[in-house]
Amino acid sequence: MVFQQFNLVRRSTVIRNVLTGRLGYQEGWRTYVPSFSKEHQDLAWRSLERLEIAEKANVRADTLSGGQQQRVALARALAQDPEILLADEPVASLDPETAIVVLDYLRDMNRRDGITVLCSIHHLELAKRYATRVIAMRLGKIVYDGEPGELDDAAYRRIYGRLGYD
C-alpha cells in the first residue's frame, strides 16, 4: 500500500522504515523487538537500491523531500513482496516532475516484477499516460471503464462535468 501522505515513521531512519515492509514475514522472538534477520535486511537494501535512494538509508525519514519520502514508501511496499500494490493518490502531494518520477517507478514495478498496481489519481493526463485500464468513478458510481486511449472530451465531461448539470 502506498499513501498520499507517504505515512513513513518520520523519526525513524529510512532503512528502518523500509524494514517494516518485512514485518508480515517475521517469525519467532524477532516479532517483538526491532531486529531483522540478514535476509530481511538484504531485501530491504535491495528495495532501496531499486528506488535509487539507498544514499539516504541512514538519515531520518523526515529530513527527505516529498518525492524522496514517496520513493522510500515505495521501497517499503516493494520489500513487502506484494502481488497487488494499492496506491492511494500517490502523487497528489508532489510537484508534476516528481510525480512523473514516482509513477515511472510504479510502472517499472508493474512491468519488471509483475506486481499489479491499482492506483487512484485525479490527473487524467497521467492516467492516460501510465494506465493500461482506466476506471472513473463519480459520486460512487462507475462512469468510465476502458482503454486509457479512448478517454476523450466527452468522457472527461462525464467524469468531471459540473455537478447538477446532468
Binding site: 531512519t13 532503512i15 535486511q41 537494501w45 537500491e49 539507498a54 544514499e55 538509508a57 541512514n58
Partner: protein, 289 residues
C-alpha cells in the same frame, strides 16, 4: 598544457562527493545501530544506578510491608463493615468539597483565561513590551504552581480563618497556575495560517485574536478547565486537614481516632464521587475536542 581555471573546476566537481557504495552504506547502518545500542545500554545503567541510590536513601523496606501486614489488615477490615451511620455527615461534607472545587475552579478560570493569552509565546513575543509581559506572566504561573494547593490552603487559613472559604481561595489560586499553563500552551499550538490570513485582511492584533485564535482554542479552554476541576476535586478532599473545609476534617478525625469502619465509608464515598466526576469530565472532553 597548463590546466585552466575551468578545467580544474570541472575536475573538482567530478571527484567531489563520491557516491557511496551499498556496502559502505550498510556498514554505516550497522555502526549506527551498534552506537545506538551501546548508548541505550549506558543510559539504562545510569538510570538503574539512580534508582538503586534512591532506594537506599529513602529507607525503602519491602520486608516491612509483610511484617506489618497486620496493620494494613486492620485498616482494610473496616471495609468489611463500613459505618453507614456516618453517611449523612459524610455526604454533607462531600457536597461541601464539591462546592469548594466548583467555586474555586470557576474563580481560578476567570483569572487564568485572560492571563493565558498574555502567557502565550506566539501572541506575545513580537515586541519588547509583549515579551516582558510574557515572562512576567510565565514567572507568576510557575510560582503559583510550585506551591501545592495544601500550602495555599494553610496560607489562606492564616489570612481569613478556618472554614470552606480559605479552601475556595486555595483551589482558585492553584487553578490559576494550572489552567493558565495548560491553556497558554493550547494557544501556542494554534494553526498560524488563519492568523496570517486575518492579518492580511488588515485586522488589528485584537481582532486577529478574537476571530482567528479564540475559535480555534475554545474546546481546549473548556477541556483544560474540566481537567483542572478534576484535579481540584481530588485536592479539595484533603483541604479539611488544615481547616480549609470539606471532607478532610472527617478524614483527620477518623484516622486520629482509629475509626476504620467510618474511614472505609468515607473512602467509598470519595472513590465513587471522584471516579464519577473523572469519568464524566473525560467523556465531555472527548466529545468537544
Amino acid at each position: 598544457m597548463p590546466p585552466t581555471a575551468g578545467s580544474t573546476a570541472a575536475l573538482a566537481m567530478t571527484d567531489s562527493p563520491r557516491r557511496r557504495t551499498l556496502d559502505e552504506l550498510m556498514a554505516e547502518s550497522e555502526r549506527m545501530v551498534r552506537v545506538q545500542r551501546s548508548r541505550n545500554f549506558v543510559i539504562a545503567v545510569v538510570v538503574i544506578a539512580i534508582v538503586a541510590y534512591t532506594y537506599r536513601k529513602t529507607e525503602f523496606d519491602a520486608g516491612a510491608l509483610i511484617s506489618h501486614a497486620d496493620n494494613m489488615g486492620r485498616v482494610l477490615s473496616g471495609f468489611s463493615h463500613p459505618d453507614r451511620k456516618q453517611l449523612p455527615i459524610i455526604l454533607k461534607l462531600t457536597l461541601e468539597t464539591l462546592y469548594i472545587a466548583v467555586l474555586g475552579t470557576t474563580i481560578g478560570a476567570l483569572i487564568a483565561v485572560p492571563l493565558s493569552f498574555l502567557g502565550a509565546r506566539n501572541l506575545m513575543r513580537r515586541n519588547p513590551i509583549g515579551t516582558a509581559a510574557y515572562f512576567a506572566v510565565r514567572f507568576l504561573m510557575a510560582v503559583i504552581r510550585s506551591i501545592p494547593t495544601l500550602f495555599w490552603g494553610i496560607m489562606w487559613v492564616i489570612v481569613v480563618g478556618i472554614g470552606p472559604f480559605p479552601g475556595v481561595l486555595a483551589v482558585a489560586t492553584f487553578s490559576v497556575g494550572l489552567i493558565s499553563k495548560l491553556f497558554s500552551e493550547a494557544i501556542e499550538a494554534t494553526d498560524w495560517g488563519p492568523v496570517e490570513a486575518l492579518t492580511a485582511t488588515g485586522a488589528n492584533p485584537i481582532q486577529v485574536v478574537v476571530h482567528g485564535v479564540i475559535p480555534q482554542v475554545m474546546p481546549y479552554m473548556i477541556a483544560n478547565i474540566l481537567y483542572s476541576f478534576e484535579v481540584n476535586v481530588h485536592s479539595s478532599t484533603i483541604l479539611g486537614y488544615i481547616g480549609a473545609g470539606g471532607l478532610g476534617l472527617l478524614l483527620q478525625e477518623y484516622i486520629g481516632l482509629f475509626e476504620y469502619p467510618q474511614l472505609a465509608m468515607l473512602l467509598i464515598v470519595v472513590v465513587i464521587m471522584t471516579s464519577t466526576i473523572d469519568y464524566s469530565s473525560a467523556a465531555i472532553r472527548r466529545r468537544i475536542i
